[in-house]
């Protein structure tokens, strides 16, 4: 019986004293990279053909829009890549040119995207514009404070499309990768 006692106590003591772990390397945490990609719509602009026909001259619409989303410090300090996707649909009877200009706070033009669309019927134009290592400079995105939208009617002011609710529609979304 003494032997059993001794063994049990020795076992407890052994477990308490010798229990340990394999070598752990907590510095690995420094190598953990968190680079999620987020996606959302940016802006949607619709100009009806009835409106286009009412405005004389080529340039039927120009407007600067405040756009602070890219200026948020959380975003600008962490963004490492991005893609802006544009989708242009023209159901009017006129060829249309859309010009997007990215402006900084001093209203300097940082970048310009130009889209030319034939009159309807025409396919939807989709364009992906990359920023970062494989595309344009991310500084364009980081410094953008306003977006200037210019729409130019390259046709007449009288024709009417046979399609219902004829309009030129610009859709856009952004997908950005951040390093957290």
């Amino acid at each position: 019986m003494k032997g059993v006692r001794f063994l049990l106590m020795a076992l407890v003591g052994f477990l308490m004293v010798t229990s340990c772990s394999e070598e752990q390397d907590f510095d690995q945490l420094d190598d953990l990279t968190i680079t999620p990609s987020y996606e959302a719509s940016i802006f949607y602009v619709k100009a009806q053909e009835t409106l286009i026909n009412r405005v004389a001259g080529l340039n039927f619409f120009t407007q600067d829009f405040n756009f602070d989303a890219f200026e948020e410090p959380f975003f600008t300090n962490r963004v490492i890549a991005g893609v802006l996707t544009y989708e242009l649909e023209n159901t009017t009877s006129k060829p249309i040119e859309i010009r997007l200009e990215f402006l900084d706070e001093a209203e300097n033009v940082l970048d310009t995207e130009v889209f030319s669309m034939d009159p309807a019927p025409t396919a939807i134009l989709q364009r992906d514009v990359a920023y970062g290592a494989t595309g344009k400079s991310l500084d364009i995105i980081r410094a953008t404070s306003e977006i200037r939208l210019t729409a130019i009617n390259l046709g007449d002011n009288s024709s009417v499309s046979s399609l219902p609710d004829a309009a030129i529609v610009l859709r856009s979304s952004a997908q950005f990768t951040l390093e957290l």
Binding site: M1, R5, L8, M9, L11, V12, L15, M16, T18, S19, C20, S21, E22, E23, Q24, D25, F26, Q28, L29, D31, L32, T33, I34, P36, S37, Y38, E39, A40, S41, I42, F43, Y44, V45, K46, A47, Q48, T50, L51, F61, Q63, F65, N66, F67, D68, A69, T85, E87, R171, S172, S173, Q175, T177, L178, L180
Partner: protein
């Protein structure tokens, strides 16, 4: 170096979160006064006992049922990003938890009344208790984002977390009703130092194909985080009076609450016993320093939407700011300082035990007054060398009750040493073997317990680790 690793791993485990600990080895180990703390109706035989201040009962637990420290931090040459994805992100679910408990008894004592059938106990302890369930969809949003996930519904209800730091004063009465039945009750006064909980969240974040624009982002949120004590502690930290603030809040300067423990021991026969206890049926009213944060509402956003014809007269307005304002109105983020009530994590223990083998000592009559049922003028109860039995443990948790089943074997070696071995199965482990030892050297009582012993050759690979130990002085009165 190995010791450093051990301490570091233990530290990491203890900071992972906290779960109220299953003290399956201590339960019904009635040679140890602290067994009263988990069953106020345990059968006692002490005339009085006094716990050594700060050393009478220290217990801790930390763990996760889904992942171990070794899974992530083993020095195995595997890229941690790969390990994190394969062993955590793609494996863990919202049912997996990280939890821990630390309980430090700073004073504890008990004495038998003039009516020797009644034993009084009292004490105080500090308890830290935290639990967080793996917030799966939040983790995916954080590590992968929501790009190219059209139609995927990120569940905002995955966030469930609760924790507290509470000082507890208690006073209990243990009464032997007759030879076969002992009952007990203990009242508790909680003084909460800090508390937080976010366990009633609902909602989702979803990207779907937009009606106008390419993507419609739908946020449906009903999120609530309630806290108490953190502002005071933060302010005290800034003014370098944190220690005083903690002590003040622990000594009734914080949030107060009441609780009740109940328990019993019943002898079905001379050798067969059933026991049960219900612990921490109580609440704390958080009124001293509450602050709640909520996000509640529903909105769908497709970016800045400009229909030139519709907005022709107001094209100069700030569409971006309008969009931000609309979202903030639809899903407002609010804070308030309303008081709130929190309920303690109630625990249930039950056991059945069958004693066998030779009676301990002289035919069951002890050479000292140190067996259950022997105190005062009461009838001696025979105590046997061996006993086996089973125990049930349940605890109320944010995602519903958790349960553990334990089989145990107790061996008494004279009046000096008692050992209890356990095998427990629960959501953490199916190979949990534990061992407890109670050593009685004259009036000095020392106990130590640990479970999940099979993992001790590589504790970092264990899903959890726990320990209990304590030091008491016990008197059984004069021998008859």
């Amino acid at each position: 170096m190995r010791l450093c690793h051990c301490l570091f791993v233990a530290g990491v485990l203890l900071t992972l979160g906290l779960k109220a600990q299953n003290k399956q080895i201590l339960y019904d180990f009635n040679e140890i006064p602290q067994s009263l703390s988990i069953n106020p109706g345990v059968e006692t035989d002490f005339k009085w006992y006094a716990g050594v201040p700060l050393l009478s009962g220290i217990s801790g637990y930390a763990g996760s049922n889904g992942i171990s420290v070794n899974d992530m931090f083993a020095n195995d040459g595997v890229d941690i990003n790969l390990k994190f994805r394969e062993r955590a992100l793609d494996v863990l679910t919202p049912k997996d938890e990280f939890s821990s408990t630390l309980q430090i008894e700073y004073f504890n004592g008990g004495f038998r009344g003039e009516n020797t059938n009644i034993f009084y106990s009292f004490g105080g302890y500090l308890e830290l208790d935290n639990i967080i369930y793996w917030p799966q969809d939040y983790a995916y949003l954080l590590f992968d984002g929501n790009a190219d996930q059209l139609g995927r519904r990120y569940d905002l209800g995955d966030l469930k977390v609760r924790g507290s730091m509470v000082n507890v004063f208690h006073f209990g009465i243990n009464k032997r009703i007759d030879r076969n039945l002992t009952i007990g009750a203990r009242g508790k006064l909680y003084s909460a130092i800090a508390d937080y909980s976010s366990s009633t969240n609902n909602g989702h974040l979803t990207n779907i194909e937009g009606q106008n624009n390419r993507i419609a982002s739908n946020l449906n949120a009903d999120l609530l985080l309630r806290t108490s004590g953190f502002q005071d502690l933060d302010a005290a930290s800034d003014s370098e009076t944190l220690g005083n603030e903690i002590i003040s809040r622990a000594l009734f300067g914080g949030d107060l609450g009441l609780g009740l423990d109940l328990g019993f021991t019943y002898y079905l026969s001379e050798r067969t016993t059933v026991t049960g206890s219900l612990l921490d049926v109580g609440f704390i009213y958080h009124s001293s320093d509450p602050k709640s944060y909520s996000l509640n509402g529903n909105t769908t956003v497709e970016g800045i939407e400009i229909d030139i014809l519709d907005n022709f007269a107001s094209l100069d307005r700030d569409f971006w700011q309008d969009l931000v304002d609309e979202v903030e109105v639809a899903v407002p983020f609010k804070t308030d300082t309303k008081s709130y009530l929190s309920f303690r994590p109630t625990k249930l223990y039950a056991s059945i035990r069958n004693a066998f083998g030779e009676p301990v000592g002289n035919g069951g009559a002890q050479t000292c007054d140190c067996t259950a049922g022997s105190s005062g003028s009461r009838e001696l109860r025979t105590k046997y060398r061996n006993s086996v039995g089973g125990q049930l443990y349940m605890i109320n948790r944010p995602r519903g009750p958790q349960m553990a089943l334990t089989g145990f074997y107790t061996r008494r070696i004279g009046n000096v040493l008692a050992l209890k071995g356990t095998y427990t199965i629960d959501k953490y482990s199916s190979t949990n073997v534990g061992l407890g030892m109670n050593l009685q050297a004259g009036p000095i009582n020392f106990y130590v317990m640990a479970d999940n012993l099979l993992s001790y050759n590589n504790i970092a690979a264990s899903n959890y680790a726990s320990f209990q130990f304590g030091l008491n002085i016990i008197s059984w009165g004069r021998s008859k």
